[in-house]
């Protein structure tokens, strides 16, 4: 269990992480989502004890990371961003070194190293120098370093960056497997990754948490309209008049002509109405043949963009309000100055 309480990190006057709080329960897979420079890595570095928060508290399995460092760090496996490795060591030597650093007992060390090598799929290259490994394998070595010692909590900072699609699926499956036994926190800016692997998502922007929820709920919450994609054969062009027949329709948008006599439209309604049944009833009467009818899902991507935009808007409003306040203050000052001058006269 990880508890992050009112954590702030400042670099000089810039605030990298601004008073964030959340917790991660045992066995949960949590995704940390945000645009570049949102404070994801900073937060992860604080949870792992690499950097100290300016204020606030981080508790890992009941141990405060800045006070009971040894105990807390023992429970964490960390795969940092940019996969730092010792290139002059072989994969096996590196993992063994990590095992020693993590205080894995001598009598089980060899066995555990072999188990981890097997788990991440490094058997074939275990005796090669890390320098000579491909990016995908380097990533796995780094992940092995995080897994060794069987820590309760595994923290992965952008684990799939720079991999090819096949490697990405492999790493994702590995993370899913890890999620069965460990608490996993991973950061990423790839959204499909999160909706596939994570049970909960924390969206962070400019150092502030703007949403914590399940991927499904986030998608639902940010959904404003139901939209349906429909492909039809419509020789008499009756689609344009459909609005009059079905009152619930808000917009009908022509999307494209498929050049085989069929056309694609996007039909929207408010989110509490499902148009599909009505469309099936009405369209045949209008001599429109349905080829395809599909409800388009809002993706996490949409949710993410909406949330970020919303945060920006709020920022803008705050700024405007501030400026207004500044302006009124300035006006007051000018007034005072004028009054003073007049008094002097």
């Amino acid at each position: 269990m990880i508890e992050v309480k009112n954590v702030t990190k400042k670099y000089g006057s810039t605030v990298a992480v601004d008073n964030i709080s959340f917790d991660v329960k045992d066995g949960e897979v949590v995704g940390f989502l945000g645009p570049n420079g949102a404070g994801k890595s900073t937060t992860m570095n604080m949870i792992t004890g690499f950097i100290e928060p300016t204020s606030g508290q981080i508790i890992v399995n009941g141990n405060d990371i800045s006070k009971k460092q040894k105990k807390a760090k023992k429970d964490i496996g960390y795969m940092p961003e940019n996969v730092p490795l010792y290139y002059e060591l072989t994969a096996k030597e590196f993992i063994t070194y990590m095992a020693e650093l993590k205080m894995v007992k001598r009598n089980v060390r060899k066995q555990e190293v072999q188990e981890v090598i097997k788990e991440v799929g490094l058997e074939e290259v275990q005796n090669k120098l890390i320098r000579n490994l491909s990016r995908g394998y380097k990533q796995r070595v780094s992940m092995a370093g995080a897994l060794i010692g069987n820590p309760d909590v595994i923290i992965l900072d952008e684990p799939t960056v720079g991999l090819d699609p096949k490697q990405i699926t492999e790493i994702r499956n590995l993370i899913k497997k890890l999620g069965q036994k460990h608490t996993v926190i991973l950061s990423t800016h790839i959204l499909s990754e999160v909706s596939q692997i994570c049970e909960r998502v924390i969206i962070i922007n400019k150092g502030k948490i703007i949403a914590i929820d399940t991927p499904e709920n986030l998608e639902k919450a940010t959904k404003e309209k139901n939209s349906i994609s429909i492909t039809v054969e419509d020789p008499k062009d009756n689609m344009q008049n459909l609005k009059e027949k079905i009152k619930e329709i808000e917009t009908i948008e022509f999307k494209r002509d498929n050049n085989d006599g069929t056309k694609q439209y996007i039909v929207t309604s408010s989110s509490d109405v499902d148009l599909r049944k009505k469309l099936f009833e009405v369209l045949p009467k209008e001599e429109i043949v349905i080829f395809e009818l599909k409800k388009t899902e809002t993706t996490l991507e949409d949710a993410f963009i909406k949330l970020i935009d919303k945060a920006k808007e709020n920022d803008g409003i705050e700024k405007m309000q501030k400026e207004e306040v500044d302006n009124t203050q300035e006006n007051d000052q000018i007034k005072n100055n004028v009054e003073e001058k007049e008094e002097k006269k």
Binding site: G49, I51, Q69, P80, L85, E88, L101
Partner: protein
């Protein structure tokens, strides 16, 4: 400490640095062996160690210490070290003793010269041992200074130049004022080279070592909050 020590020592021999350091040290020993004993027909080994110490400090210690923390910081591997349950002190000490071990190896190799001399005259073993102990203490102080320099920058060149500067500057500063002799390491080795142990020298070399190690530990711990 042991884990870091083992890995560091291994790394010295996986890269050329370990071999080069030992090799060049042996070359220096050999050259000064010829210059200080053979060419004078002398059996006194103090000058050999003094000359090697002087130029070894200048050239080899910075080479040995420049990568200690700079490289870790540049490659990001310090993240692995500092997020492990090991304490900062054990990491620093592990690295420190690994570097000192390289010097210790060269000292042990240098016994060869004493063996050669013993064919031509008497080697005073106690004197030799005192000189070697002094050499080791001197190397420890120099390594700790190099390590400190390495912990403040991620650039290995800067770290090496800084170390050379700190080690060599007192040689010339002494001419300006006697005060600087207190920070001149080689000056403290002079006694050992003649076979005399002075408590003052031992304490000052050891205290420089301990001080630099402590500052290194403090700096690395402190970086956590400002980083």
């Amino acid at each position: 400490m042991w884990a870091v020590f083992k890995k560091e020592l291994k790394t010295y021999f996986l890269s050329p640095i370990g071999y080069i350091t030992i090799g060049v040290f042996m070359l220096m020993y050999s050259i000064f062996f010829y210059l200080t004993t053979i060419s004078y027909g002398s059996v006194y080994l103090g000058d050999l160690y003094y000359a090697t110490a002087r130029y070894g400090l200048l050239l080899m210690i910075p080479l040995l210490t420049m990568r200690m923390f700079s490289e870790e910081r540049k490659n990001g591997t310090e993240q692995l070290l500092l997020t492990s349950p090991r304490s900062v002190s054990s990491i620093v000490l592990g690295k420190f003793f690994a570097a000192v071990t390289i010097i210790l190896i060269t000292i042990l190799f240098s016994i060869v010269y004493a063996i050669i001399i013993s064919f031509f005259g008497d080697v005073t073993i106690p004197t030799l041992i005192v000189t070697m102990i002094g050499f080791l203490l001197l190397a420890m102080a120099a390594v700790s200074i190099g390590m400190l320099a390495s912990s403040i920058t991620e650039n290995q060149i800067i770290s090496a130049i800084l170390t050379i500067g700190i080690l060599v500057a007192p040689w010339f500063l002494i001419d300006m004022s006697e005060i600087f002799s207190s920070i001149d390491l080689i000056d403290k080795f002079l006694g050992f080279a003649t076979g005399t142990i002075s408590i003052a020298d031992v304490i000052s070399l050891l205290s420089i070592t301990v001080m630099c190690i402590l500052i290194t530990i403090i700096l690395i711990k402190r970086r956590k909050t400002v980083k």
